[in-house]
């Protein structure tokens, strides 16, 4: 259990080893199309309320949906990237009354979704089953005015239909995740895949990626699923982790005190760090699904699917494998980070051009968080080569890198402009000899084995050269003089 969950008052002692948390996620991703799923209105975040609308997305009487083929293509990309089977599918109406849903039904896919039976591999190598990834339309947004924004206390509500009809793909995972950490890994990986294939911008903060999570617990070793609760309003990876930790703790405490779990939909409250009951199973809607008569069945041709498959860019998993091959000693987390930041191609290319993998990865992980800018693989390879030869110190290399990111060019040129000419070894030796002579006390303590003094001498060398000295070379010289 996470520290946050344990710190909540009134909860009993954790019993992690006796209970297993089971998580299944339903992720809604907005597809990055120009126009809406069934009409020509723009699919764009924001905008003045009710400006991205038309008779179809407002559900005006007499209007009819026409399927956006680009949305279908993006959904197929998602299906292929998640190793799904692409099958003939049928749109269905999901009927329920809600003011931000213009037709009071949502066009979705029900018993015949387009993508089924796939899997997603976590960075740890564990595969999580994907039940389906189907196409559906988004709803509008209701804003409650007065009463602090909560629906039950609101004075009145206003509806913005700009989002109504935006294409979504809903990715339903099997309940095979076993912890908050795994759930976060799953969503992070899924987001990378969606972004990589160009299906979605994956922005959780703008709501283009939304996660509903189903949480249950069971005695460790059991193969039966416990009663689950669905948690809504999880708006970041951090909230996802916290919400799952809280919810599994809550359920374990109920069970250990002999109380049953009620199947519920619960609302995550970011402020108090708890989930709150929204409605029970009995209050759930009967959606009265039936095939959407205004749309034809969707049956993508095998040729089209194959063409989409051919055009798929490399997926994060493949990219991680490729980078790990190029930089075998690199940390898995660093590899994942590089891929997440889309720096992996640069790294592989720089290593391919002779860059020392460890040094390349150091820059990738620590110094390129804002992207590679104008930096070319060739320049990165030369840069780490200069470092390796002692021509640049780590500090200097970092500054040269910033110039390369900013303006491009070669590292030699940039180093020269910055005045970073490498110290000749003779010059460095005489500097070290001078320092030893000037600081006899520190030198004798260093010779007695006080390792802290290494830092002292390196610091002095840096000070004397305004950072031009190579710290490693100074250390080597000190050690060789100690004998």
């Amino acid at each position: 259990m996470g520290a946050e969950a344990q710190s909540i008052p009134g909860l009993g002692a954790p019993a992690d080893t006796e209970w297993e948390t089971v998580v299944g996620l339903e992720v809604h991703a907005e597809l990055a199309t120009e126009t809406k799923l069934f009409s020509a209105s723009p699919n764009r975040f924001g905008g003045d309320p009710n400006t991205h609308i038309d008779p179809v997305s407002l559900g005006l009487p007499g209007s009819l949906p026409v399927l956006n083929q680009k949305a279908v293509e993006l959904a197929i990309r998602v299906g292929l990237a998640l190793n799904c089977r692409i099958q003939p599918s049928v749109f269905a109406r999901k009927n329920y009354f809600y003011p931000d849903m213009p037709k009071d039904f949502q066009i979705s896919q029900y018993d015949q979704p387009i993508n089924v039976d796939g899997w997603l591999e976590l960075p740890t190598g564990r595969r999580i089953g994907i039940e389906r990834a189907h196409i559906e339309e988004d709803t509008g947004k209701t804003v409650h005015i007065g009463g602090g924004g909560r629906i039950h206390e609101a004075g009145y509500s206003l509806v913005d239909y700009n989002r109504a009809g935006v294409p979504l793909v809903e990715i339903v995972g099997h309940p095979e995740l076993r912890s908050a950490t795994e759930a976060r890994q799953y969503v992070a990986e899924l987001r990378s895949i969606l972004v990589a294939v160009g299906a979605s911008d994956g922005k959780m903060e703008e709501g283009s990626l939304r996660v509903d999570c189903n949480v249950s617990v069971r005695p460790a070793g059991s193969d039966r699923l416990g009663t689950r609760c669905e948690i809504k309003n999880v708006n970041s990876l951090r909230s996802l982790g916290r919400a799952i930790d809280y919810e599994s703790r809550r359920q374990i405490d109920l069970l250990t005190s002999g109380q049953p779990i009620e199947q519920q939909t619960r609302h995550w409250n970011e402020d108090d760090g708890r989930t709150h009951a929204l409605r029970s199973k009995e209050e759930d809607h009967d959606y009265r699904y039936f095939p959407e008569p205004d749309l034809l069945p969707l049956d993508p041709s095998p040729q089209w699917v194959e063409q989409i498959r051919q055009e798929l860019p490399p997926l994060p998993r493949d990219r991680r494998l490729r980078l790990a091959e190029a930089a075998p000693s690199a940390d898995a987390a660093h590899i994942a980070l590089a891929v997440e930041r889309s720096l992996d191609e640069l790294a592989v290319a720089a290593i391919g051009q002779g860059g020392v993998p460890e040094r390349v990865m150091t820059h990738i992980v620590h110094n390129l968080a804002d992207g590679p800018g104008e930096l070319t693989p060739q320049a990165l390879a030369s840069l780490v080569g200069m470092e390796d030869k002692g021509q640049l110190t780590a500090t200097q290399a970092k500054r040269v890198l910033a110039v390369l990111v900013d303006r491009g060019g070669s590292p030699q040129e940039a180093a020269q402009k910055l005045g970073f000419e490498a110290m000749e070894s003779v010059e460095l030796e005489s500097l070290v000899d001078g320092l030893v002579a000037d600081h006899p006390d520190e030198w004798s303590r260093f010779c007695d084995g006080d390792a802290k003094l290494t830092g002292f001498f390196v610091g002095q060398a840096m000070k004397a050269t305004q950072g031009r000295a190579d710290g490693k070379a100074v250390t080597q010289l000190l050690n060789s003089r100690r004998g």
């Binding site: 008779p55 407002l58 559900g59 005006l60 009487p61 007499g62 209007s63 009819l64 949906p65 026409v66 399927l67 109406r93 009927n95 009354f97 003011p99 213009p102 037709k103 009071d104 039904f105 509500s157 509806v159 009967d286 009265r288 699904y289 039936f290 008569p293 205004d294 749309l295 034809l296």
Partner: protein, 471 residues
């Protein structure tokens, strides 16, 4: 006057569109208080449009094939800037911001919209008595209903208020009122005419079609309004040959079936006699006649009264008081929804929403909606066999002539039986039309229904022309 007669006179400059429109507006002003065919008469707009047509003619430009032809539109067809009510209180005050595809096509062909016609609320009914604005009377006998749900359109043409009107046919709502008012009414093949802008009742069954006084007029109007529409996914993608072109080709050698399932029980003897006369006429014109059978057709009415309400329950959900039309305030949003819908919908609409909601509910879906869809498939299969042996099938359009106002309002089942001959065609999606063929014992019109396979309009119209000529 006929559609073709008016268009010819206006196109050639013999008559001004304005004088035609004024004449029809005069007829409406004089007669519609009694008939109540119209919910709205757009007199000023019609006159302005007629003047435009006349300018076009004067400038020597082509005013279109329906130049100056006054047209009445069923009040479930969206007209930009003109209220569209579906004869329901729930759409009170709603003005569509767009034209239905058919409205745009008629406009482009030079037709002049004179008004919106009365109907059963949301097209649910067979007598036009379910209108929130009061019933329409049958011009042939004003103590009788005009049929429904497109009763206003049928009555407008029968009364001479317009030479053509458009209606919509979900279970017979064009053909049955056409029969009862003694005019021609066409239910085209599903997908031949775009539904974009037709306020949906039952999406998989709805189809727009014309009412006219002659078969040739109906063909001319159908040729204008039909054709592919990218705004309707169910519209047929390929253009079809014009029906008008082959109208006079006769029926010599065609195989005509008399549908056994729609000829026996429940058909009034005088109606049956007129159908026999029509069959003889086709035979005399060279058709080969035999009995045809589609056994599952007898279950058509039952399947229809589950599928249509099921789709309607979903299509009509959007009338919730949130965005347009009637709103009755409530303490919460669901209360407001309930109050608005309770006040805005009439009894028949509520009945069908309840039936449809029930038919789709968890635990009942398979027994009702699912089973009805299986029956629909059986009927489609049966008709496929019929079309292996026949080019056309003939039956009565309505089991009886026009009934009296109020006669069936208390008995929904009796009212539903009015559609027994017409609903199978909506379930299969094929073409059908009603052609007036004499009168019954009460002196009221009898319609003969001609059924054709999907996209069989050209042959169907040939037979209709033969019947018309043999009257």
């Amino acid at each position: 006057m006929t559609v073709l007669g008016i268009a010819g006179a206006v196109r050639s400059g013999q008559r001004s569109a304005r004088s035609v429109v004024d004449e029809y507006l005069g007829a409406i002003a004089e007669g519609d208080d009694e008939i109540h065919a119209f919910n709205l008469v757009a007199a000023e707009q019609a006159r302005a449009r007629a003047d435009e047509i006349d300018s076009t003619v004067a400038e020597g430009r082509d005013p279109g094939p329906l130049a100056g032809v006054p047209v009445a539109l069923k009040d479930n067809l969206c007209t930009r800037g003109v209220p569209t009510t579906c004869s329901s209180r729930i759409l009170e005050g709603w003005v569509p911001p767009y034209d239905a595809t058919v409205v745009g096509r008629l406009h482009g062909a030079g037709a002049v919209m004179v008004g919106k016609t009365n109907m059963d609320e949301f097209a649910m009914g067979s007598s036009t008595e379910n209108s929130a604005f009061g019933p329409t009377r049958n011009p042939c006998d004003t103590s009788r209903v005009p049929g429904g749900s497109s009763g206003g359109s049928a009555a407008a043409v029968a009364a001479g208020f317009a030479p053509v009107a458009l209606g919509s046919d979900t279970g017979g709502s064009i053909r049955q009122p056409a029969a009862l008012c003694g005019v021609v009414g066409v239910k085209p093949t599903y997908g031949l005419v775009s539904r974009y802008g037709l306020v949906a009742f039952a999406s998989s069954l709805d189809q727009i079609g014309p009412f006219t006084t002659t078969v040739a007029d109906a063909a001319a109007v159908l040729d204008v309004i039909s054709g592919p529409d990218p705004r309707d996914s169910t519209s047929i993608g390929d253009s079809q040959p014009p029906v008008s072109a082959t109208l006079d080709n006769g029926v010599d050698g065609l195989r005509v079936g008399v549908l056994a399932e729609l000829s026996g029980d429940g058909i009034s003897p005088d109606v049956a006699a007129r159908v026999r006369a029509a069959v003889s006429a086709l035979q005399s014109a060279g058709a080969r006649v035999a009995e045809a059978s589609a056994p599952a057709a007898v279950y058509g009415l039952s399947a229809y009264y589950l599928i249509a309400p099921a789709e309607a329950s979903s299509n009509l959900a959007r009338y919730d008081g949130v965005r347009y039309g009637l709103r009755v305030d409530g303490a919460s949003t669901p209360d407001m929804n309930t109050a608005s819908r309770s006040a805005g919908f009439g009894d028949e609409v509520k009945r069908r929403i309840m039936i449809g909601t029930y038919a789709l509910s968890a635990g009942y879906y398979d027994a009702y909606y699912g089973k009805a869809q299986r029956v629909r498939t059986l009927i489609i299969d049966d008709f496929a066999s019929v079309w292996d042996q026949f080019d056309l099938v003939v039956s009565p359009t309505s089991p009886t002539t026009a009934f009296s106002l109020g006669e069936r309002t208390a008995d929904p089942m009796a009212m539903y039986m009015s559609d027994v001959c017409t609903v199978p065609v909506n379930l299969t999606g094929q073409a059908a039309m009603s052609v007036p063929y004499g009168v019954g014992d009460d002196g009221l019109p009898v319609g003969v229904q001609i059924l054709a396979p999907a996209l069989g309009e050209p042959i169907m119209f040939r037979a209709a022309a033969v019947l018309e000529a043999s009257r």
